[in-house]
Assembly symmetry: none
Homo-oligomer: 228 residues x 2
DNA sequence: TGGGCGGTGTCACCGAATTGTCATCACGCT
DNA sequence: AGCGTGATGACAATTCGGTGACACCGCCCA
């Protein structure tokens, strides 16, 4: 359940309140006091979730959210809005902008953590610790184990992460570059063709139980996990 | 992926090392040995990315970066910092200034090219990818799949793009030239007759499910996708 | 300290899929 | 029949993904 969370909030007291609580919940916290900084941080490395204050100096949180939705790279980033105002009108406008959830100040730390957890579960399956079961394969992040029927399949760390990502995002083609970003990390420098090799190792491991056909090649585009 | 890159670096040997490698990667390279020159070049024409040395004679790279971030016209320009120092403190200060990424000397040419590619990708505009359903065929760019009923139809990359374009612009005739521009790309030199061949391959693939009549020939004009 | 060892990232090479062109054939008009 | 246009089949070049081999690297253990 550990996730990297970008907190965009200008008031220092609230900032640290949030930080402490999120860290206690096991999350990695990155802080930004204004939209400019936040944008840069997002540019440098994608967080798993953004906690965004409504009112900010300079560009407002709502504008930033709109920008995030416009950019393909951040379109899917879950955003939770943080606002002091609790009026209905604002909630509507916020959701309209594409916020995934709302928290109105004052909030309880427990509510904060709970909502974040909920949004993560809904939005970024691979950072949760739920087991995935698909196409006759079961992958359990907690025990770090993959089973097909009652056979255990062994994977190296990278293959495991790769399979985990693909299984939590099935029926979707990913280019080698996207896979590198998602599985290896945004800033890791690795040859694109390396993905091929790991796909092959993944398939080799799955072959023992005949599940290797779940990992499909889409020529000219990339790879896809498909259970159909 | 080709971009115009402004390289601000005072040491001739490194300058040419960078230049050679970037050109090989298909980029246009503009060189500047100091901040004054760089500023003038940026004023004349905005590059797609700036590769900026940390230490420069006169005004330092970091100050230049700060200026770039202040100016509205250059605020969104991606900047990659180039530094000999690898200390954490510097990295933090650099990101603080607004660099999009970091490369510490010595660096491998491949790393250089890869990081530039990554940064450019992050700044790239989005493209919407909604599924199209028309005339009994469903094309989903996300999963990169075409289905008729519950049959899957396989296409080569070009046929897929061609069908995608036609389905998103139905009931409209396109000349071969227009199709070449839209599907192949503006500056590609390909025989017009080649379109015929791909139309045929498209039809051949659609024939299996009897949907080949959706792609129609308009004698003397071109081709059309029609669901009627 | 010096090997094994599992895991990774790169390469070079191979076979298969894809593509652009041509030469020809077919068809609809006048 | 004679044109003008498309459709087709064949083909050679090129691109792309699959693979096996191999060099590292960090670790554990003798």
């Amino acid at each position: 359940m550990a996730a990297t969370i970008l907190v965009v909030e200008d008031e220092p007291s609230i900032q640290s309140l949030i930080e402490v609580n999120l860290r206690r919940a096991g999350h990695e916290v990155i802080l930004a006091s204004d939209v400019e900084t936040a944008r840069r941080l997002v540019g440098a490395a994608l967080p798993d979730l953004i906690l965004l204050d409504w009112m900010l100096p300079g560009l407002s949180g709502i504008d930033f959210a709109r920008q995030l939705r416009r950019d393909a790279r951040t379109k899917m980033l879950p955003v939770i809005m943080l606002t002091a105002r609790s009026e209905e009108r604002d909630k509507v406008e916020g959701l309209d902008v594409g916020a995934d959830d709302y928290i109105t100040k004052p909030f309880s730390p427990r509510e904060l953590v709970a909502r974040i957890k909920a949004v993560l579960r809904r939005h970024a399956p691979q950072v949760t610790e739920d087991a995935v079961e698909l196409g006759g394969i079961r992958l359990d992040p907690v025990s770090h184990r993959v089973t097909a029927g009652n056979e255990d399949i062994a994977f190296g760390p990278t293959e495991f992460r790769l399979l985990h990502f693909l299984m939590t995002h099935p029926e979707r083609v990913y280019t080698r570059t996207q896979l590198l970003d998602q599985v290896w990390g945004d800033h890791v420098f690795v040859e694109e063709r390396t993905v091929d090799v790991h796909i092959r190792r993944l398939r080799a491991a799955l072959e023992a139980t005949g599940h290797d056909s779940l990992v499909q090649t889409v020529r000219g585009s990339g790879y896809r996990f498909s259970a159909t």
